[in-house]
Amino acid sequence: MGPSTFISAALHVAIVLFAIVGLSSSHMSAPLVAIPVDLSTPADITKIKAGMKDAADDASLAAKPEEEKPKAVKEKTAKAPEQTAAIKKSAEPKVEKTVEAPKTPAPKPAPKPEQTAAAPKPQPKPQAPARKPEPPKEQAKAALKPALKPAPKTAQFDTDRISALLNKIPDATDTPEPQALAEETKPARGQSNGTEMAMSVNELDALRARISECWTPPAGGLGADAIVVKVRLKLNQDGTLEGLPSVANSGSSPFFQAAADSAVRAVFQCQPYALPAGKYSLWRDMILTFDPSQMYRSG
């Protein structure tokens, strides 16, 4: 009992010392309880980090796909007439169906989406592996920095959302990340510790606000406000959509289709997404839940 208690005590002291030394370099000399201050800082810190990435990178990335896009669309137009011709044929027989009662639904040309889905894909993939060779160095650098300032880091973890924490960890090991970090560490302006493993609250808020602006839910329908639509989307590094977004849930309400369409339109309308390039691995794959229930007052 005795010796183990000592050892345990010693270890605890060591940990505390370790923490104090770490903390002393930061602005907090007060007791550790002062942690709540961090409630606002993580977002700010990440914001500073986000600000570090040079705009030039983004621009160059954005330019390429846009140049290529038209090509894809042109191909579409080339193929399209065939599709519509087919539609027309299938629509014809129904002509006789209604004379007075007018609506004669004609089949839709389904194939289209696949084309758009296919077109953008090739671009991002080659890019990521191409830069792979570089990262190791940066990774090393990145690894060093957090080691120097471990205490503040853990303080952030404490106060940040647990879910965010969970998200952070995964992406440290993602391959694209180091490459992104490499870009970031060059023009080091804020503290760049290379471990930006989560979207900051501010970044998420900004994204949320942006999509809110693009989203026009079908308003006023009876029960329409209770319809939740989940849309999964994948993004290219330049913030454009990689393929077609997909609706990840379904509903029996007559409003569901309209609600789902409005969500998908919002996702299209909002691109390109201006998100921190260094965190591409985090935002390349997103699930957005469109829930208008809070938008309307009762009545």
């Binding site: 270890l11 004609a106 960890i169 569901f256 309308q269």
Partner: protein
């Protein structure tokens, strides 16, 4: 202890450098949107063989005007269009439409087929590049405008998820002549004010016309005989009859949702009570029995309840009861007096006229009286009637002064989209038909 300490230490280290699951997905809740009209590009419909290009263009023009009037769509000025030669059978160059911020695109073609007009149209989602609707619509040449209304309804329904209300008609009281000698005639027109037709010639005063669910008959009150009575009129044949053989003045009629009954007020000895009459058996049933004035009855869309106005509490208030007259209870609770309750076709709201402080307001409340919301107010607003999808109210507003008179207006449930309905003369007491199809 030692071991547990080591474990803790290891755990602490682990927390800093733990490897993690391979792939992350950002999940985000979007709980706010922006309510704004959808920018829609509507290309002039192309004429087929033997079709006047102007006539074809008029159809697409109707589509644009209908959609715009809903306040939910913003048709884009055609001058901004980049792709000019877009045909029905080709896929649009979506980038050209994205550039002008169109989110939806309508193209169409008007042709003739076996003596009828045939409209083909497509609705494209510009952003995703997908076709949302591709349909054909037929109409007799004299009903060409209906093609536009039906197409507008289809687009409206596909985008909003709700049935449209453009292929509908309005019956109302056309008012002409000076204020003290006003001639009131029954009139019917399309929802957008076109195709006006007078149903009576103005020899006697008419009030409160109401559509049957079949849209072929209307019921109204007229001073035709010795006493004002409720009449039933077939719009197609012009056939007319008095509803019920009541010993007194009958007024404020309205059809039940199944069209089988008419509910109305009967005035006897200074007070009035509500009666329902079965149109087949001609049997009548007394629903209320008070020494007050009970009037303005209106069925719920399921036919199980009736809302009405009564002054049994001193001032006019809105009540709800079961269709057999049981369980009469007051639902209006605010200040002022309430009248002309109308149950929404979708059942969730009751529209009313409210008089408070010398002003007339049009509002809605839930059938239990909660959630009262005022949509519009003015010098004299009255007589709301619902669009068949329960989203828009039409009412009449009287302007003050010697030269003033009533005009028809619409307002949607948001209370923001108010519009005047074009009528050649003054108009009052509008009643909105169900969708014609």
């Amino acid at each position: 202890m030692w071991r547990s300490s080591m474990l803790i230490f290891a755990a602490l280290l682990g927390a800093v450098s733990a490897p993690a699951p391979a792939h992350a997905v950002v999940e985000l809740d979007i709980t706010q949107g922006t309510i704004q009209p959808l920018p829609i590009a509507i290309v002039d419909f192309a004429p087929g063989l033997g079709i006047d290009p102007e006539a074809a263009r008029e159809i697409s023009d109707i589509v644009a005007k209908d959609l715009q009037s809903s306040g939910l769509f913003a048709p884009i000025d055609q001058a901004a269009f980049i792709e000019r030669d877009l045909g029905m059978s080709s896929v649009p160059r979506f980038e050209d439409w994205r550039v002008i911020n169109a989110q939806a695109l309508v193209i169409g073609h008007i042709g003739a087929s076996k003596g009828k007009l045939r409209a083909e149209f497509r609705l494209w989602d510009v952003l995703s590049g997908q076709q949302l609707v591709g349909e054909q619509v037929f109409a007799r040449p004299q009903e060409a405008r209906r093609l536009g209304h039906i197409i507008a309804d289809t687009i409206y329904e596909r985008i909003t998820g709700e049935k449209g209300y453009f292929d509908t008609r309005i019956v109302y009281v056309d008012e002409s002549g000076p204020k003290d000698r006003r001639m009131k005639r029954l009139a019917i027109m399309d929802q957008d004010g076109h195709n006006l037709k007078l149903l009576t010639q103005g020899q006697s005063l008419v009030l409160t016309p109401r559509f049957s669910p079949s849209t072929l008959e209307i019921t109204y009150m007229s001073y035709e005989g010795a006493e004002p009575k409720v009449y039933l009129l077939n719009i197609e044949t012009g056939q007319k009859e008095i509803v019920g053989a009541f010993p007194g003045m009958t007024f404020a009629p309205r059809f039940s949702p199944d069209g089988q009954r008419i509910v109305m007020s009967l005035e006897q000895g200074g007070n009035s009570n509500l009666f329902a009459m079965d149109l087949r058996s001609r049997r009548t049933m007394q629903l209320t029995n008070t020494d007050a004035i009970d009037t303005g009855p209106c069925y719920a869309p399921d036919g199980r309840q009736i809302t009405f106005e009564t002054d049994r509490d001193g001032s006019r208030q809105i009540y709800v009861m079961n269709a057999d007259g049981s369980n009469q209870h007051r639902i209006s609770q605010g200040e002022g007096s309430y009248s002309t309750p109308v149950w929404s076709p979708r059942g969730d709201l009751i529209a009313f006229t409210k008089m408070q402080g010398g002003r007339f307001l049009i509002g809605v409340m839930k059938p239990d009286g909660s959630g009262e919301r005022i949509l519009t107010e003015g010098f004299h607003n009255e007589g709301p009637t619902w669009s068949p999808n329960g989203r828009v109210l039409m009412f009449f507003r009287e302007s003050p002064g010697a030269g003033g008179g009533p005009r028809l207006y619409t307002i949607d449930l948001t209370g923001y989209n108010e519009r005047q309905v074009a009528t050649p003369a003054f108009g009052s007491d509008p009643a909105w038909s169900p969708l014609i199809n």
